[in-house]
């Protein structure tokens, strides 16, 4: 009996002495269980769930891949521009993305690991469409991503340009306020009858142009034809424009607190009455055009009226003001 009791006591002692290490194993097992669950959860985000099927969906990305054309500036001149002169530059239309670039962007930005790893996942370009096969969850992420791109690309700032006449005193007063006008100064200047004004709206970064005014015809030349004993002048009708011609390219800041503004502005006014000179074929009209031209780029705060520039000489003066707004 004593021997049996000693055996049992020793058996329990042996088991307990190793039981101290059992607690470490429990920790190991707990950790393994936690990591397995984590990896299972992670796998669920990368792999379509068993019940999820790969879905084929067509995305119309024509708006993201369409070229945005820059409008061409049409300066106001008495003489016609020759090739290579001002106003004859070619404007190359450019698109925010080309289809291949957009596909590359999607592959980089949305579930990047999935496109290679998942069997059946694919992106194909079909003209202005992108055909995508992936899981519903990646489709949802893709829709959110494209919406983000569209929000940025859909920004359409509005630029209002006003040309006003100011007296020499007023022109000099601006010396102390070289950029933003106070609301009072802006209201006072904008209340003047404008020499010309236009609002231009386009895509962020797009060059827009506008010409507004009056086109007048006049007899500007004669085509002289001569015969043996006589000559005759065939009058040539010409056109001259007076008014404003604006070209504006606003580039908004990311947060649209400001914009970089590239402008070419001009305002021209014809002398009235037009000078005419008598010729043997009839009167020849010789127009004269007073102009103010401004070409510059500058950073302007959005929502504030700023002075872009201008000139004054004697009685003539013209000041160009701009207000950029971002309705988006």
């Amino acid at each position: 009996m004593r021997l049996l009791a000693a055996f049992l006591a020793a058996f329990l002692l042996g088991a307990l002495s190793l039981g101290a290490g059992e607690e470490g194993d429990a920790e190991l097992l707990g950790e393994i269980e936690r990591l397995t669950a984590l990896l299972r959860e992670r796998a669920a985000t990368l792999q379509p769930a068993p019940q999820e099927e790969m879905v084929l969906q067509l995305y119309d990305v024509t708006d993201l891949c369409s070229p945005v054309e820059d409008e061409q500036f049409a300066p106001i001149r008495l003489a016609k521009a020759g090739k290579g002169d001002l106003g004859t530059e070619e404007c190359e239309p450019s698109a925010p993305y080309d289809a291949d670039g957009l596909v590359e962007l999607i592959r980089t930005a949305v579930a990047p690991a999935s496109w290679e790893a998942w069997e059946g996942a694919s992106i194909e370009v079909l003209g202005g469409m992108v055909l995508i096969r992936t899981s519903p969850r990646v489709h949802a992420a893709l829709a959110r991503f494209l919406a983000k791109l569209r929000t940025l690309l859909a920004r359409q700032p509005s630029v209002e340009i006003v040309a006003v006449a100011v007296g020499p005193e007023e022109f000099a007063l601006l010396d102390e306020r070289p950029r933003e006008l106070s609301p009072e100064d802006a209201a006072r200047l904008l209340a003047k009858p404008p020499l010309g004004a236009a609002r231009l709206r386009g895509f962020d970064g797009q060059q827009t142009a506008r010409r507004e005014g009056r086109e007048r015809s006049y007899v500007g030349d004669y085509d002289v034809k001569i015969a043996v004993e006589s000559a005759i002048g065939d009058p040539l009708r010409m056109q001259i424009f007076e008014g404003v011609a604006f070209e504006v390219r606003p580039v908004l800041d990311r947060g649209a607190g400001g914009a970089l503004l590239h402008v070419r502005l001009e305002r021209a006014l014809l002398d009235e009455p037009m000078r005419a000179r008598a010729t043997e074929y009839g009167p020849l009209e010789l127009p004269a055009l007073e102009f103010t031209r401004l070409r510059t780029s500058l950073w302007v705060p959005v929502g504030t009226t700023v002075v872009l520039g201008g000139c004054t000489s004697g009685e003539r003066s013209c000041l160009f003001l701009a207000t950029v707004t971002d309705p988006g």
Binding site: A6, D175, V228, G257, C311
Partner: protein, 342 residues
């Protein structure tokens, strides 16, 4: 006793062996745990949530689009008109920060985390697309706004004046030529203009980007009969009038450069004021009734000066009527960005 000890020892060994046998050792568990830890670390690195974000798997990783057209888009210089009054087409100058790829490189070596393989920076069109933690995206935004844009889009307001002044005043002011005018000298000039003693012939102002040549121009284009094309037949002759255009007026073509010291601005400028006699002189010709000859009074200066910011500087001087002089003055004021960015 010895038998009892032997039996007890045997029992101890049997108890220990029963547990070891049931478990099969923990080497397998340790190895398995190591494998899982490695896999979990890789999985977490692939999609680590940003600071303060929930680890919800459905949430998109932080993604930001940075439009950088203003930094990498080419800029234009506007050259001054030629002697004939024609304005040349703008010249394309490089972008202030080079190409989009160069800007991306710059970001990668400056603000992009060096020790991280997370996220991506992608260039497309004239936009940068970045995925990173929110903190790092804010760093990129700050770097673009505060470091790059504040310099690349630095705007300078420039003013120019052509004034006709009595010689005595001209001497006083011209003595400071090349050096910015003292406030009292500028006040003296303004007083003289107010009293009629001096005359402001032309004033121009334009705000432009540092480094860019800009133009402001006010003038007049007038058509005149400048020539005849003679047509001759057997018994007759005809004069076909040729109409030409003369351009007069004033312009300021100017390029400001701002270095490390913002208290001075270097101005590369061409300042011109061409007056025209109000009536064309007519030179009689055999046929056609005479050709018209415009008479222009040309004044101008072309120079490069370094001027104190916000101070007027005399950049040129010329003769006018008796005992009077014509002075060309310029001033530049820096317009730092305010409230830009977010």
């Amino acid at each position: 006793m010895t038998r009892t000890v032997c039996i007890a020892l045997l029992g101890f060994l049997a108890g220990a062996a029963s547990l070891v046998g049931g478990r099969g050792g923990n080497e397998g568990l340790v190895a398995r745990l190591a494998e899982l830890r490695e896999a979990a670390a890789a999985a977490m690195a692939a999609e680590r949530p940003a600071d303060g974000e929930s680890a919800a798997v459905e949430e998109d990783p932080p993604l930001a689009l940075f439009p950088v057209q203003d930094l990498v888009g080419p800029r234009r210089d506007f050259p001054p008109p030629g002697e004939d009054g024609n304005e040349p087409a703008p010249e394309w100058a490089g972008a202030p920060l080079g190409s989009l790829e160069e800007l991306m490189e710059l970001l990668l070596v400056t603000v992009w985390p060096q020790d991280s393989e997370e996220g991506f920076l992608h260039a497309s069109g004239q936009t940068l697309l970045a995925s990173q933690t929110r903190g790092k995206l804010a760093d990129v935004d700050r770097f673009l706004e505060q470091t790059l844009r504040s310099r690349a889009n630095l705007t300078v307001a420039m003013e120019g004046e052509v004034v006709e002044v009595p010689s005595a005043l001209a001497r006083t002011l011209a003595a400071e030529s090349g050096v910015s005018l003292r406030p009292e000298s500028r006040s003296a000039l303004q007083e003289a203009i107010k009293s009629g003693e001096a005359r402001r012939l032309f004033a121009a102002r334009v705000s432009g980007l540092a480094g860019q040549r800009v133009l402001v121009w006010q003038g007049r284009e007038a058509a005149f009969v400048g020539d005849f094309d003679m047509e001759v037949a057997e018994k007759s002759a005809a004069a076909d009038p040729v109409v030409a255009v003369v351009v007069s007026g004033g312009y300021l073509s100017i390029r400001p450069s701002v270095g490390e010291d913002p208290s001075t601005v270097t101005l590369d400028l061409e300042f011109r004021l061409d007056g025209i006699e109000p009536r064309f002189r007519v030179v009689e010709t055999e046929v056609g009734g005479g050709i018209e000859v415009p008479v222009l009074l040309r004044r101008g200066c072309r120079t490069t000066v370094t001027a104190r910011e916000r101070a007027w500087t005399v950049v040129g001087e010329g003769a006018a009527e008796a005992d009077r002089r014509v002075l060309f003055l310029v001033r530049a004021t820096l317009l730092p960005r305010k409230g830009g960015g977010r």
